[in-house]
């Protein structure tokens, strides 16, 4: 079976001419279905750029990015949009829609699913909010939620769209250790139950143990498997 994600000799530059700066150098990596891969590294080493490339948000310049077996390099906007719907993204800034309640925010994710009735999508949203422990905050606006609660809404929103590949940028950064733990367990459970690949950027040493594989990045390069997981 083809891996969920396969990166091959991926390079990326920003700027041009004298200002040209290479941020990714020969990245090769793959994530299998049901696998949780953790990506660590100092800030500014190119992790976020890597996530935007995998998430089909940025054009691939050099090398190959294959998601669900489809090449992203040179892919049309329509193909990238279609793939994006199958990729869940949990962003640090969470970017919840301020005018929507927690439940409605999550349903914006569920609404992307085709062929489900309104009621089914709403129930699904409520389920995921319950799964992240926010069943008592369904009708609250982001304004009235704490940072950690907002982060959990963002996670529920990503999961409600039933992603097959999940990209997460510091999903536990604003959570206390107990909820942080719960969230990563949830993500891991999702990976195992639904055969979803998870690529998670994190600095949080408390959650490293959930990883099937740990990848480190430094100055645009990957050093795989350098850590043994104990």
């Amino acid at each position: 079976m083809a891996p969920m994600l396969r990166l091959c000799a991926l390079k990326h530059h920003f700027g041009s001419g004298a200002m040209r700066r290479q941020v990714l150098i020969d990245i090769s990596l793959s994530v299998e279905a049901g696998e949780v891969v953790l990506l660590t590294g100092p800030s500014g080493c190119g992790k976020t750029t890597l996530l935007t490339l995998i998430g089909a948000l940025r054009q691939v310049q050099e090398g190959s990015v294959q998601v669900f077996g489809e090449e992203l390099r040179g892919a049309s906007a329509a193909v990238r949009l279609r793939l994006r719907r199958r990729i869940g993204m949990i962003i640090q800034g969470h970017n919840l829609l301020r005018c929507l309640s927690a439940e409605q925010n999550v349903q914006m994710g569920a609404d992307l699913l085709e062929g489900l009735s309104y009621r089914a999508r709403r129930d699904r949203s409520r389920e995921w909010l319950r799964a992240v422990g926010l069943q008592d905050h369904l009708d609250k606006l982001p304004h009235d939620l704490s940072g950690g609660q907002k982060q959990r809404v963002a996670i529920a929103r990503a999961l409600a769209a039933r992603p097959q590949l999940l990209l997460a940028d510091e999903p536990t950064a604003s959570l206390d250790s107990r909820t942080g733990r719960e969230v990563v367990e949830l993500l891991k459970g999702l990976a195992k139950d639904q055969g979803c690949g998870v690529l998670m950027v994190t600095h949080d040493p408390r959650i490293l143990d959930v990883a099937d594989r740990l990848v480190q990045m430094e100055d645009g390069r990957l050093s795989q498997g350098a850590y043994a997981i104990d």
Binding site: T48, L51, T52, G55, L57, R58, L81, R82, R84, R85, R86, I87, M89, I91, Q92, G93, N95, L96, L97, R98, C99, L100, Q104, Q107, M108, G109, D111, L112, S117, Y118, R119, L141, R157, A161, D169
Partner: protein, 390 residues
């Protein structure tokens, strides 16, 4: 079908974007309503004035109307030989004629002695003048010399004639130095050119205007046999009669008057410009609101694009915002328009009413305003870059 749509419904994002920012929504609706009211007022005045210019014309009991080619409007009617009207009788389709004198005369306010011009029609009391049958009864009162019928809808500047008359008082006044007595009241209505109306007999009219050339009239009414085609008879009369008269259908006579006010005065232009100003002001307000709304939510729109929402569905959100603003801005504008029309009717006696055409015109203008602004605001959405959300 409906059930399927209901099942397929999504979060009403446009609605929530608007309603969860009540202050901004209120400003937007106030702006749109203001623009709408401005358009209602300006267009109402314009149409009201055009309509009012033919208040009398509409009442005339005529299928065809003869006027002098030198007449330019109801406030400057020229005379033509009455003989022409009699000649028209030769046509088999013509069953009746009414010669009418038509001029503005100076009426003296019986209360404060100020003079003011009033539209005076002189006719043979036995001849039909208006389609309204109640006039025929009152016309008999004109058979005595020096009697007039006063239009109770005339502006108050002519004096409290109607009130005095109703209270049983003998109301007498002066026209061109001649004493006249009000023999009765009629309800006709003011127009742009005439602030009031007076009906009198042919004989009294000539006494008031002794310089009128003998045998000269200003308007000739022609009634046709039922079922005959006025346009056809008009064409026939035009061929038969000399060029010193113009033959018009009744609608043509109405159009002749309206054309004068439309083309020979700046009324139409001024009020249309006023409405256009309202439109522009509304456009600026709605554009500002929608543009800042899109700008404020740019990261959120970018997130939706990253999640896999199409750009077109986001453009749809902005378009729906425009549509909602148009609808909810129009309603108060419509209500306020109704109220203001009432005020204008009471203050000016002009027939300014909310007709379907204008209600629809203003709605379409507001719709164009909102959707055009939404379209411009959508360009800002192109700045939403999902790669920037991390």
């Amino acid at each position: 079908m409906f059930a399927r749509l209901w099942q397929g419904r999504r979060i009403p994002l446009a609605w929530l974007l608007l309603t969860r920012q009540p202050m901004r929504l209120l400003v937007a609706l106030a702006g749109i309503a203001f623009a709408g009211i401005l358009m209602f007022m300006q267009l109402g005045f314009r149409d009201g004035l055009f309509d009012a210019s033919v208040t009398i014309h509409r009442l005339l009991d005529a299928d065809l109307v003869l006027i002098s080619p030198r007449s330019s409007s109801s406030v400057s009617m020229a005379g033509f030989p009455r003989r022409r009207l009699v000649q028209a009788m030769a046509d088999p389709a013509v069953v009746g004629i009414t010669p009418v004198h038509w001029n503005l005369l100076l009426w003296r306010n019986p209360e404060n002695r100020a003079t003011r011009s009033i539209l005076t029609l002189g006719f043979e009391p036995a001849d039909p003048l208006f389609t309204d049958p109640s006039l025929a009864r009152k016309a008999k009162l004109l058979q005595d010399r020096g009697r007039v019928l006063f239009d109770e809808l005339s502006r108050p500047e002519f004096g409290p004639v109607a009130a005095w008359f109703r209270s049983g008082r003998t109301v007498e006044s002066e026209i061109s130095g001649q004493r006249v007595r009000v023999a009765g009241l009629v309800a006709l209505g003011t127009s742009f050119g005439a602030d009031g109306n007076l009906l009198t007999s042919h004989e009294t009219y000539l006494r008031l205007l002794p310089n009128t050339p003998p045998g000269s009239i200003e308007v000739g009414l022609i009634r046709l046999t039922p079922g005959s085609d006025p346009a056809e008879v008009a064409a026939r009369l035009k061929r038969r009669l000399p060029a010193d008269v113009t033959v018009l259908t009744k609608d043509g006579f109405i159009a002749f008057e309206q054309d004068y006010w439309r083309s020979s005065t700046s009324i139409g232009f001024i009020f249309t410009l006023g409405a256009a100003m309202g439109f522009v002001v509304g456009c600026v307000i709605v554009y500002q609101i929608l543009y800042s709304d899109v700008s404020d939510h740019l990261p959120e729109y970018a997130t939706l694009m990253a999640m896999g929402y199409r750009l077109t569905s986001l453009l749809g959100v902005v378009a729906r915002e425009g549509l909602l603003l148009a609808t909810f801005g129009y309603l108060p504008a419509y209500a306020a328009g109704q109220g203001l029309y009432l005020v204008v009717r009471n203050a000016t006696q002009l027939p300014v009413t909310m007709d379907t055409t204008r209600a629809l015109t203003v709605f379409i203008m507001i719709l164009v305003m909102c959707m055009g602004s939404a379209l411009l605001a959508m360009r800002k959405l192109a700045d939403a870059d999902p790669a920037e959300i991390f």
